[in-house]
């Protein structure tokens, strides 16, 4: 469910009718609900959603340098005599091995 707007009405039956006229005239949606605004309990302290510590380990940006890390792994594989594994055919390599 997405919040699409608000309106003024005497009771919830009327609100449902008015909402259909004001927000769903063109069949935008298959279902909707109305709630009286004093029954909508919002988060009082938005700072609860803020971050206080470094949580880069939870974010894409916390994981970087994969190209260098993969190159380092290839070099290590060569040093171990396992560089030939990546020469095997794989999808998209035209039988010439992974790039």
């Amino acid at each position: 469910m997405e919040h699409v707007g608000n309106l003024h009405a005497a009771d919830h039956e009327t609100a449902l009718l008015i909402a259909r006229e004001t927000h769903f005239r063109h069949h935008e949606g298959v279902d909707y609900a109305v709630v009286r605004s004093d029954q909508l309990h919002r988060l009082e302290d938005p700072s609860l959603l803020e971050r206080r510590t470094d949580i880069s380990y939870r974010l894409q940006t916390g994981y970087s340098g994969f190209r260098e890390k993969r190159e380092a792994a290839r070099a290590a594989a060569d040093a171990r005599g396992r560089g030939h594994l990546r020469q095997r055919p794989v999808p998209g390599s035209d039988s010439k091995g992974a790039s």
């Binding site: 939870r58 916390g62 994981y63 890390k69 792994a73 290839r74 290590a76 594989a77 594994l85 999808p91």
Partner: protein, 282 residues
């Protein structure tokens, strides 16, 4: 809603939710033993995500009529089904790399396919799950690369773990069932056959392992560029049956024992948060 459709979905979705919890437990075993603070925090965050996924996915099954307390109590009593891969023990940090990269990779393949599943509430939950899984993938690949390019001891630990996890992950996708024989495909729950998903996973992950110099314990594993499929040794399907239908493994028994203990000891927290009263667990 046809009752066949409802039941197929409930069974599938309940097993999925159970698997998120049972997948978190082997990784959780390594939070206290992670080799660095950053890895510890990353692993804890991943475990938290998996439990969060379980919450969301149980709710989808509940929306189809299956009560959540019944699902969770079946799981910890040993009656609930979950994926084969989470019945196995872990022995080293190399296992954490394999679970985070290979096993999670298999889950990502099947979960991406679920973005097209026919039950819309499941699709909506999968969008969030798939977004979080892409971060888990990076975490897994980071650990794999660190071990593969590390000391000989690290490399061997990783290779040894891969040798153990190869067959269970091949098992994960299930036997090859033709689309026309698979009710899950007929009802739109699955959008790919088991073999299609397995091939997709091999295509995505084996080249990366070979790139790192990691071998797989299957001498027949090879890509056929003409047929555009991977050849491999047929996994031992009796072994899969033994794991999921036979006596619970030691690892499963231990993990479920602790879940039962926690469930009993923490029943008061459930009651406060949900307002439900739980009968004393058996």
């Amino acid at each position: 809603m046809p009752s066949t459709y409802r039941q197929l979905n409930i069974r599938f979705i309940e097993m999925h939710a159970n698997s998120e919890i049972m997948g978190a437990l082997p990784e959780r075993e390594w939070i206290a033993r992670a080799p660095s603070l950053r890895r510890k925090r990353s692993l804890a965050a991943k475990v938290q995500d998996e439990v969060g996924h379980a919450h969301l996915i149980y709710r989808v099954a509940e929306s189809l009529g299956r009560p959540r307390p019944a699902m969770y109590e079946d799981l910890i009593a040993g009656r609930g089904k979950f994926h084969n891969v989470f019945h196995y023990p872990t022995y080293s940090w190399g296992d954490v790399a394999c679970i985070g990269f290979l096993v999670d990779g298999a889950a990502i393949v099947t979960q991406r396919a679920l973005l097209e599943t026919s039950y819309a509430p499941y699709v909506r939950v999968m969008r969030r799950v798939v977004a979080e899984e892409s971060l888990h993938y990076r975490h897994g690949e980071d650990i794999m690369l660190a071990l593969a390019s590390g000391t000989d001891e690290q490399f061997e630990m990783l290779q040894e773990a891969v040798d153990r996890w190869w067959e269970p992950t091949m098992h994960f996708f299930g036997t090859d069932v033709a689309a026309e024989d698979d009710p899950m495909i007929h009802w739109g729950v699955k959008s790919r056959t088991n073999e299609q998903s397995r091939q997709e996973w091999i295509s995505q992950y084996v080249p990366k392992l070979w790139d790192m110099g990691i071998e797989l314990p299957d001498p027949k594993l090879a890509y056929d560029p003409d047929a555009k499929t991977w050849d491999y040794t047929e996994p031992d399907w009796d072994r899969l049956k033994a794991v999921i239908k036979g006596e619970p493994t030691e690892a499963t028994k231990t993990r479920l024992y602790w879940r039962q203990l926690m469930h009993r000891n923490h029943a008061w927290i459930h009651e406060i948060i949900t307002g439900d009263r739980f009968p004393a667990a058996a």
